[in-house]
């Protein structure tokens, strides 16, 4: 196969990987601060995808316009979930938290199945088949916009955590829970905000994914797993790690799909996960586990 085919697929993989990275970033933020493993991550993303699909089919609202509103809806959902359901579980054993999130995941995906039926839905934008050509390189317009939006969203998130006082307060909670309480931070509210931010990330990623893949109610679990693979590969709790993991997995999937068969692509993602867990359990950019 000629080299430029590989190059095109690789670029497409990297752009998809940026969206994956944003999705995983949400998971990483939630785990890094609240210390709860969000096993309903992919399902929350599916909610965002369905809002985007319905907004497009009913009102012809482009997913890129709906990016911020849907992220806001998911933020509210995450905030409410944390305050209403998850908060009492913060101090419970790991497996209890895990099962709680599994329960939420089952409820969300099947409620969506009841509401929307099992059929795949897609967003047919005017630019769905457009592409940009730079020399031998051909880039899908949808993937380019999705990747660019992911970069903007991620940059805003990094700025929030580095520059704003609220972001610093959340980081303080993550670093030292007791210390944060001592200096008078409202940890419960900050946890809820964090869960909201994580949900907003995955919501934004979901909206952009509607440009790239079809939406069905039951795709949640596979994206939950994908987010885990990415976050563990990059380092659980490390924000740059989540992005790097996303790029790596996006690229691997694209190249594996091209070289072998598309149905085998996630096998390679899992192979990377197993290798990372065995040889560098804290992830590529993660801090050493205590």
């Amino acid at each position: 196969m000629p080299f430029d085919v590989y190059l095109n697929v690789a670029v497409g993989g990297i752009l998809t990987g940026l969206v994956y990275g944003l999705m995983a970033l949400g998971l990483s933020v939630i785990f890094g601060v609240v210390r709860v493993v969000n096993f309903a991550h992919g399902e929350m993303m599916t909610i965002a995808m369905f809002i985007a699909v319905v907004a497009f089919s009913a009102f012809h609202l482009d997913p890129l316009i709906m990016l911020i509103p849907i992220a806001a809806v998911l933020f509210a959902l995450g905030y409410a979930l944390q305050t209403g359901v998850i908060n009492p579980f913060v101090t419970r054993p790991e497996h209890a938290q895990f099962l709680l999130m599994v329960a939420l995941a089952i409820i969300i995906s099947n409620a969506l199945l009841i509401m929307f039926g099992p059929d795949a839905r897609s967003v047919q934008t005017a630019y769905a088949f457009d592409s940009y050509q730079i020399g031998a390189l051909i880039i899908d317009a949808s993937k380019l916009y999705a990747g660019a939006a992911a970069i903007v969203f991620t940059a805003a998130l990094f700025a929030f955590f580095r520059l704003m006082l609220l972001g610093k307060a959340i980081r303080a909670c993550a670093d030292n829970h007791t210390g944060a309480q001592v200096v008078g931070l409202d940890v419960k509210r900050l946890y809820a905000l964090t869960f909201g931010i994580g949900a907003a990330c995955v919501g934004a990623a979901g909206v952009m994914l509607t440009l790239i893949v079809d939406t069905t109610p039951l795709i949640g679990p596979s994206y939950t797993l994908l987010a885990f693979v990415i976050v563990i590969t990059g380092g659980l709790g490390s924000l740059p790690g989540a992005l790097l993991g996303g790029l790596l997995i996006g690229l691997t999937e694209a190249l594996a799909g091209l070289t072998f068969s598309p149905s085998l692509k996630s096998m390679f993602a899992f192979a990377i996960l197993v290798l990372v867990l065995l040889f560098r359990p804290q992830g590529i950019l993660g801090r050493r586990l205590s």
Partner: protein, 333 residues
Amino acid sequence: MARLAAGLSPRSAALLGALFAVLVAAPFIINDYLLTVLIIILYFAYAGQAWNIMMGFAGQLSLGHAIYLGLAGYVAATLYVLLGVGPWLGLLAAIPICAACGAIIGFLAFRFGVAGVYFAILTIAFAEFARIGFDNWKFVNASSGLFLPVKQYAHNDLWRLRGDPTMFYYVILAATALLFMLCHLLLRSRMGYFWLAIREDEQAARATGIDTFRYKMYAVMISAAVTSFAGVFYAFFYNNLFPEQVFSISRSIEIILGPVIGGVGTLFGPILGAFVLTGLAEALNSAMTALGIDLPGATQVFYGICLLLVVAGLPDGVWPPLARRLGVGGSKK
């Protein structure tokens, strides 16, 4: 026999005996539909009990038990379809394969200190790996699935596991009873106490001189080995195997719901949980059919809500408080 009776109060022995007698008599009383429901309940009770050895006794959360169900089913079904080897011999082949698979996962995880959530995700990763692998493996018909020949049988053939629901019912009832006894013995053995020590505090267990690596390995391998029977039974009861279904993560989750709702780490929890969950789900299904409502996913939403309520309201499951009520001791053993 004496060891089996040890630690069982006369009251709980009487209650267990009564339950067993009712279950043995059941096929003479109830119709085929209810019998099929009972078969499914006992299948979940068996598989949940098998999972419970790993999580409930030794504290290792596996969310990928579908890999053992699927492997065992595929081994027995392939042997049967290709070579005409009966399921019991197939089971003899499946047990070491599943135990070895568990040993590989356990070895990789425990040797490299992969624990807790990371361990759970590793188990999912292996199950997904198997799912995609079998989905693309032409030898076992890949994604189009493996089918066992279905014919009308004049009489029950226990050796080949071909027959009517009553035969399947007694097979799974006997297996569930045997596994219950095995778990009872395991819990009262030296190894059982080591497992509980590891579950409660692994560091402390190691400090008292327990070879935690070895006993965690035993837990995974025994759990995988006994799970293999459930896989073979499933394959021969339903007569079809699709990688998309048998290895799916929802299959792994399905079998842990019973023990979680009944009570993780208890002996009777998985059985009670299977009865409660499957019983209620079937009742819901019948009610919806009677009302003419067709909602795929409604049962799953119901499962989710049950799980949510139990995890939030009864952290130890339904059985411990119920056991205290029945006066058969509510200790988490």
